[in-house]
Amino acid sequence: MKLYLKVWRQEHRDSKGGMISYEVDGISEHMSFLEMLDLLNERLIQKGERVIEFDHDCREGICGACGMMINGRAHGPLTGTTTCQLHMRSFKDGETVYIEPFRAAAFPVLRDLKIDRSAFDRIIQSGGYISASTGQAPESNSILISHEVTEAAFDAAACIGCGACVATCKNSSAALFTSAKISHLVLLPQGKLEAADRVIKMVGQMDAQGFGHCSNTEACEVECPQEISVLHIGRMNYEYNKALALRK
């Protein structure tokens, strides 16, 4: 199969980028999208050109490193899929494919398709944890948690922090990412004690990082590779308002 690629190339954080055209032939339908880029990069090396930089690591859909806009959609045309799990059987011979980095003010471009997502780490640092120091934990079966609650907490905890929700949101909101963490921790009995403080700090940090507000478009859920539900945003708002109302 042969594809016509338009790839965003940008030298540095502050330089001006632009779309560059490439033709890639000899693509097999079994290749992953990233393996197709590997093939292109191998050819660029042969021509003496700088390779296209992109983030990737586990290539099995769980590390959250990969992510790019493919034809205007985060992680490409499939739902519930990371870029590394997108295979070329989803494209047609002769198709033109546009590849761009995830764009958000809080996610500056480092080079080509590589972006800086450290703002997510700072949101977690602001309170996205349970304050359990090592070595003094109680016997685990002394904390009973129903099967349903564990499963619900897991559904939220499954977020891989890839940033697709931000990239696809017209406001570049990090509400889905932040709310997934809020839900994960507030559903569990261990996380309840710090719930009010946590939600206020995390929402504050999310704003401070320059992410936009959620306006309930729900595009984030559509593009989330882990299919995290927007209902978590509802829970975050509820927890936030409750925390404000009860704040001493």
């Binding site: 097999s28 290749m31 992953s32 990233l34 590997d38 093939l39 191998e42 090396i45 042969q46 003496g48 050109e49 700088r50 390779v51 930089e53 983030d55 990737h56 690591d57 586990c58 290539r59 099995e60 859909g61 769980i62 590390c63 490193a65 295979h87 080079r111 590589k114 800086d116 997502r117 450290s118 780490d121 977690i124 640092q125 602001s126 996205g128 944890y129 349970i130 304050s131 359990a132 090592t134 070595g135 934990a137 109680p138 016997e139 685990s140 079966n141 009973l144 948690i145 129903s146 099967h147 564990t150 907490a153 897991f154 905890a157 499954a158 922090g161 994960h184 921790l185 261990q190 996380g191």
Partner: protein, 636 residues
Amino acid sequence: MIDAKIPAGDLADKWNNYKDSSKLINPANRKKLDIIVVGTGLAGSSCAATLAEQGYNVNSFCFQDSARRAHSVAAQGGVNAAKNYKNDGDSVYRMFYDTIKGGDFRSREANVYRLAECSLSLIDQAVAQGVPFAREYGGYLNNRSFGGVQVSRTFYARGQTGQQLMIGAYQALMRQVSAGKVKTYTRHEMLDLVLIDGKARGIIARNLETGEIERHVANAVVLATGGYGKVYYLSTLAMGCNSSAIWRAHKKGAFMSGVSWIQFHPTCLPQIGETQSKLTLMSESLRNDGRIWVPKKAGDERVPNDIPEEERDYYLERRYPTFGNLSPRDISSRAAKERIDAGCGVGPMKNAVCLDFSKAIREQGRDKIEEKYGNLFKMYDKINGVNAYKEPMLISPAAHFTMGGLWVDYDLMTTIPGLFALGEANFSDHGANRLGANSLLQSCVDGYFIAPYTIPNYLSRELKSEKVTTDHPAFIDAENNVREQLNRFLNLKGHLSADHFHKTLGKLLYDKCGLSRTRKSLEEAIVEIRSLKKSFDHELKITGDDGVNSELEKAGRVSDFLELGELMCHDALQREESCGAHFREEYQTPDGEAVRNDQDFCYVSAWEWKGEAVEPELHKEPLVFETVKLTVRSYK
């Protein structure tokens, strides 16, 4: 002979004795001590967070853009702990014995016992952090079983246990960042270790975002950088997994052990093309309900569903009736290779076997199977476009976990004072084969419960040692060496990419030092790797500049893999026996089972670097078994 410094006393008392007698450091003094932790997987994050909780200043390094992305995140199946929640006869001793036996009696009793002992606290710790392990309807924790054991001691969070434990450790780390006790250096790669007065006192790191070469000083350095299975290029590991940090420490004097003990995981997706970069792991837990078979007839061209029951060979159930589909990984992988080599493989490249859920679905219903393994079935469908609820999954063995790594003593300290190695980066607890669900355990207990005792014990002696700064000549020398290598890579006018060399090395190792080895194949491999290294030194081509440049990063890693690959062959050549993941064809029974030689090889090989293209020097740490009796490992 090297000393593992195993504490005195009965096996069950050794760790308590150690803790009782280890030196403590006054909280006021802890603030004066800096520790570098390289790697932010389960071992690195948990160690960095715990040391920071204790009051030390920790600098944490990882090459990923966020600490949360370390490859521990990809482990699927579960984590073992001898809690005996199922009342099925489990105990610390039984877990210790299963692990020693699973490792084919090539690990230390004291370390393995400690691993089983600490497993109890780990589950409590993880639950306290909010790890959503599977629960029964009554609210109690649930368990399942893994290969090589007959009890249910594996705790799991769907098929994403590694991810959830990782997020717990990452959050603990982020909490300490917020408290100002940890400083994280993401997108940083350690390129050299700095020794002063023979002790580890810092690292040289490259900032992968700016290209800057940085010097970092500390009172101790911890390497928790994972395994090197990516040396085979096609493996279950992340693309960035590499051996550079441990290899560069090795070249500075740290010994490497058990280097050729590399586990080939039996349940991976098979290679289907030449441009493939990765072999995806399917959790071993699938073997609880999936049955493994191949057609009885070699060269059978029918699709699996068209092959009737009586023409299927459930070869694990046939050969190992007691353990069946849950036979340990090395045995299951070799059994698959044996059938594939016999011409019974299935799939487009005839390199796979069937993992069949039809019986389990018939008996338990699709819903139950979906609840247990749903995400794995979904992943299979994404990658292959095949619905495994309707036809068998095709699986194949792939390079996975490295039991080898830096040699460490009971303190998890390498042969360089002040340099510690945790998790998969050390050789320590698995012997010649790792049992399923023990890797997450080892990484976590090394980081949460062991290193936080042993590192302070070392540091208590360092309080009075001379203060050094990054202006020390040792830092300048190390930095110059790093710069020189990077410049050499950038200025080479070759015509072959780093990936080309990596793929060539990987194929060579897979064929000659992979699932099985012979004297002849290993001797050939050493010659061929040396020649490949020479070619790499002249024909490499790197484009781009010294800023963000993934090709430049790869070049350094491939250079190290080439040297490491050679050491793997030396290690496999020298060990004239078959044990665990190391199968020398010369040493097998008539029916193809491994023949171990306790008379001559009951030791850990510890290799010392003697220079490029010079034979490494072998040191031996004899393995002393006081509690268990060495037996022939049988799963029949």
